[in-house]
Amino acid sequence: MTKKVLIVDDEENIVTALEFLLQRSGYETRVARNGDEALSEVASFAPDLVLLDVMMPRRSGYEVCQRVRAHPEWQRIKIVMLSAKGRDVEVSKGVSLGADLYVTKPFSNAELVAKIDALLGGGRAGGQ
């Protein structure tokens, strides 16, 4: 079964690139533009992994992460935080709030996909 990735970011340009990249890498994707949308998509889309931007309007990525982790049924969802804030303290905060990975922008497409693959057990179906 195709693994599902929810892309949460308010910047159109990165969303476009990530969407294309992940689809080409064999994932089913969906996009949320802010924190509230992200939480409802987590409920309806039931993603295997959330690619979560930190700085967003209406609930920060930190808060979305905290909410997902607080929900007993969502414990298996992997969370990768994407952030233009790259200081140690922010990384530490993200990890202590329950993120599986904290990736600072800019990042390499190939490395990001490799990390996502690793988190999802390499079990992607289809694609190249």
């Binding site: 990165i14 294309f20 990249l21 905290q66 530490s92 922008k105 800019p106």
Partner: protein, 710 residues
């Protein structure tokens, strides 16, 4: 006994003794004779009676002569000698004793003369030693003064109550540059020039270190001057018997340095935040273009557009960042390493005393070190606890801390209320105020400058009404307490031994304070004329301070005042001030408030003070400045001491007390003269038992009424 009586008594005693011996012999012989022999003897004696009487008379004469000689040679010279020795002891140690009378007496006076000479020599030696010691001390003080003036840093020493004991020119320049009236001065409160809370906080930290038995490391803080300069202060304790008796502060102007640092930091942060996103977008798009050459044309042109747009954004944010931070001025914080336990210990006292929440700081691991601006962090805690209390009714909080990678995770926990994360987001951006203090920084800025984060931690799934605010603060390096200096703490260099260290603020009312322990502002005014109620005005004010019995000629106030009315020709002759000179000067409404600040905390002294005070009182309404401190009058004090002297003009008093008359008839010149007179009056008042301010005021009052009656 008078000499005459002594003479009579001595002569009689001698005479009685002289007659008693032959009389006794005669009586014994007479008792041994037979009756006929006695008869013969009686006849013989009767025939020789005139001769016997002559013998008795000459014996009397000899006795009187002997007594006279004894008294003249011994008694009277000894008596004179005693009087002379008394003079020698009490008044004139140069007195040479005259030798008179018998040889023994003359030898005695010679011996006393030698003793007196010895005593003079000893005294001179002792005086020479004392003079030498004084000179050495003076030299050392001068050397210290020279050394301090060479320092690029400002130096300021104050006692535990914040009274300034020492400062150098640099400190004065830094603290008063471009600001209000120069209010730094010996005996003045340091809180007039440096924020009270910051000094108190530094003192508290030094005390805490001493309580732990450590040699305290200097407390550092950054403070702003009234003129907006930023000073970095380092406060080290002057410890005595394990308590902080005062602090030595060094001051550096870091306005420029901090500006530059803040600019660099701001630039870096702006670049990091503004550049990462566009670069990420660029990179993702570009890598897609490269990795998937087979993509359809529409998508390819979409990615090319992204590359173009993000490049523009990137250039724009680069320009914005450089422009915004080129001349931005932001206060920075001084981070220093300190124990988490110390920070929370100080925080607890502050929160309990000024915010009114109880704090349980439990057992904080002593090995946890933070790198923080303790003052800003404690303000942040105060602000948050204030919010919790006001908005959620939280009355008690709990602190705990644990190491976490390169951070210290510090939890502020409470129970009884759930705080929404929206509330925290709002608090983070508000300017902080706690316990009546306000700072321009917000919690977010304080955290940002620490490189710290804070968030509301979810509590257990049970959802009990409680909360945890978790801080991630940068961990610090343990600082070893400085090694104890080899010399014992008690043997301080002599120049620390300022009398003002002992000047403890007594709880007693001002009136019960000793005259010698008070601070005075001695002042004088020049005026357009002698009738304040008829519209005469002040044209100059001069004043000088006396602290701890010393006239501080370096701390003077001298201002000309534009009277906004013509000068009286007669009084112009006295003070010699031209109307044109005054036209350019500020009016009384500008000068009087400055003078009022100069007089703060001091007793006012003036000659014929009623005259000057009347002028000041008449300006109360116009300037809003009231002089409520006690006033002493050198005229009344002098009259209290020398009531029989008719002339109590300044000149006459100066002459009586041996004060030289110079610089008369300028306000400052007269104030200096009055100050010298006042200082000479103080010991004379003390001799009369006038020791406290209350007694001096009472003596003045009585003199005033007695003079009125005349």
């Amino acid at each position: 006994m008078t000499p005459r009586r002594k003479l009579a008594f001595l002569a009689l005693a001698l005479y009685v003794t002289t007659l008693a011996v032959p009389a006794a012999i005669a009586a014994t012989l007479y008792a041994g004779l037979a009756a006929q022999e006695r008869e013969v003897l009686r006849q013989v004696a009767a025939e020789r009676l005139p001769m016997l009487l002559l013998v008795a008379a000459s014996a009397l004469f000899a006795c009187v002569g002997a007594a006279r000689w004894l008294i003249g040679a011994y008694v009277l010279p000894l008596r004179r000698l005693t009087e002379q020795v008394r003079v020698l002891l009490g008044a004139n140690e140069q007195l040479e004793l005259a030798s008179a009378g018998a040889r023994e007496v003359a030898e005695l006076s010679a011996a006393v003369n030698r003793l007196a000479a010895d005593r003079r020599r000893l005294r001179q030696d002792a005086e020479a030693l004392a003079r030498e010691a004084r000179e050495r001390l003076e030299e050392e003080r001068n050397r210290l003064a020279a050394l301090m003036s060479e320092l690029a840093q400002g130096v300021l020493v104050c006692n535990a109550e914040g009274r300034i004991l020492l400062y150098n020119e640099q400190a004065r320049a830094l603290l008063t540059a471009g600001g209000r009236e120069a209010l730094i001065g010996l005996g003045r409160s340091v809180f007039g020039v440096i924020d009270r809370e910051q000094v108190a906080h530094a003192l508290e930290r030094l005390r805490r270190a001493l309580e732990r038995g450590e040699q305290p490391a200097p407390a550092r803080f950054v403070t702003a001057t009234p003129a907006g300069r930023l000073l970095k202060a380092q406060a080290a304790p002057v410890a005595s018997d394990g308590v902080v008796a005062g602090i030595v502060m060094t001051l550096d102007d870091v306005t420029g340095i901090l500006d530059r640092e803040a600019q660099r930091l701001g630039l870096l942060q702006a670049l990091a935040a503004g550049v990462r996103s566009p670069v990420a977008n660029l990179r993702a798009a570009a890598e897609n273009l490269a990795a998937y050459p087979d993509m359809e044309a529409a998508r390819r042109s979409r990615f090319v557009d992204i590359v173009a747009a993000e490049s523009r954004t990137l250039s724009q944010s680069l320009n914005d960042a450089l422009r915004e931070y080129a001349d931005a001025l932001k206060a920075s914080l001084t981070l220093e390493d300190m124990r988490a336990a110390d920070l929370l210990g100080v925080a607890r006292r502050r929160l309990e005393s000024s915010v009114g929440v109880t704090v349980d700081a439990g057992a904080i691991d002593e090995s946890l070190w933070l790198r923080v601006d303790s003052f800003a962090m404690i303000q942040a805690f105060g602000f948050l606890c204030g919010k919790l209390r006001e908005e959620y009714g939280v009355r008690g909080v709990r602190f705990s801390a644990a190491a976490r990678e390169r951070f210290v995770q510090l939890d502020l926990a409470w129970s009884g209320a759930i705080v929404a994360s929206d509330a925290l987001a709002l608090w983070e951006t508000q300017p902080m105020h706690a316990g009546g203090q306000q700072t321009a920084l917000s919690l977010r800025e304080v955290l940002g400058r620490h490189g710290a984060e804070a968030w509301l931690e979810r509590t257990g799934p049970g959802g009990e009404r409680s909360g945890v605010l978790r801080f991630l603060l940068p961990a610090g390096e343990p600082v070893a307490p400085p090694a104890r200096p080899a010399r014992p703490a008690e043997s301080r260099p002599e120049y620390y031994d300022f009398d003002l260290f002992r000047y403890a603020e007594q709880a007693s009312e001002l009136g019960e304070r000793r005259l010698s322990a008070l601070s005075y502002t001695v002042f004088d005014t020049e005026t357009t004329g002698l009738e304040p109620s008829a519209g005469d005005e002040i044209i100059s004010i001069g004043a000088v301070r006396i602290v701890n019995g010393r006239l501080l000629k370096g701390e003077v106030f001298e201002r000309l005042v534009n009277p906004r009315r013509p000068l009286n020709r007669e009084s112009a002759r006295v003070h010699g001030i031209e109307a044109e000179t005054l036209a350019a000067e500020p009016g009384i409404e500008a000068v009087l408030p400055a003078f009022h600040r100069f007089c703060e905390d001091a007793v006012l002294v003036a000659h014929n003070a009623a005259f000057d005070m009347r002028f000041l009182e008449l300006k109360e309404a116009a300037t809003g400045v009231r002089f409520t401190q006690p006033v002493l009058d050198t005229l009344l004090l002098s009259a209290a001491l020398h009531p029989s002297q008719e002339d109590q003009r300044l000149e006459a008093i100066a002459e009586r007390l041996g004060v030289r008359l110079i610089g008369r008839h300028t306000a400052l010149g007269d104030a200096l003269l009055e100050a010298e007179i006042f200082l000479r009056l103080l010991p004379l008042l003390e001799e009369r038992g006038i020791v406290t301010l209350g007694q001096a005021l009472e003596a003045s009052r009585q003199t005033y009424y007695s003079r009125l009656r005349y």
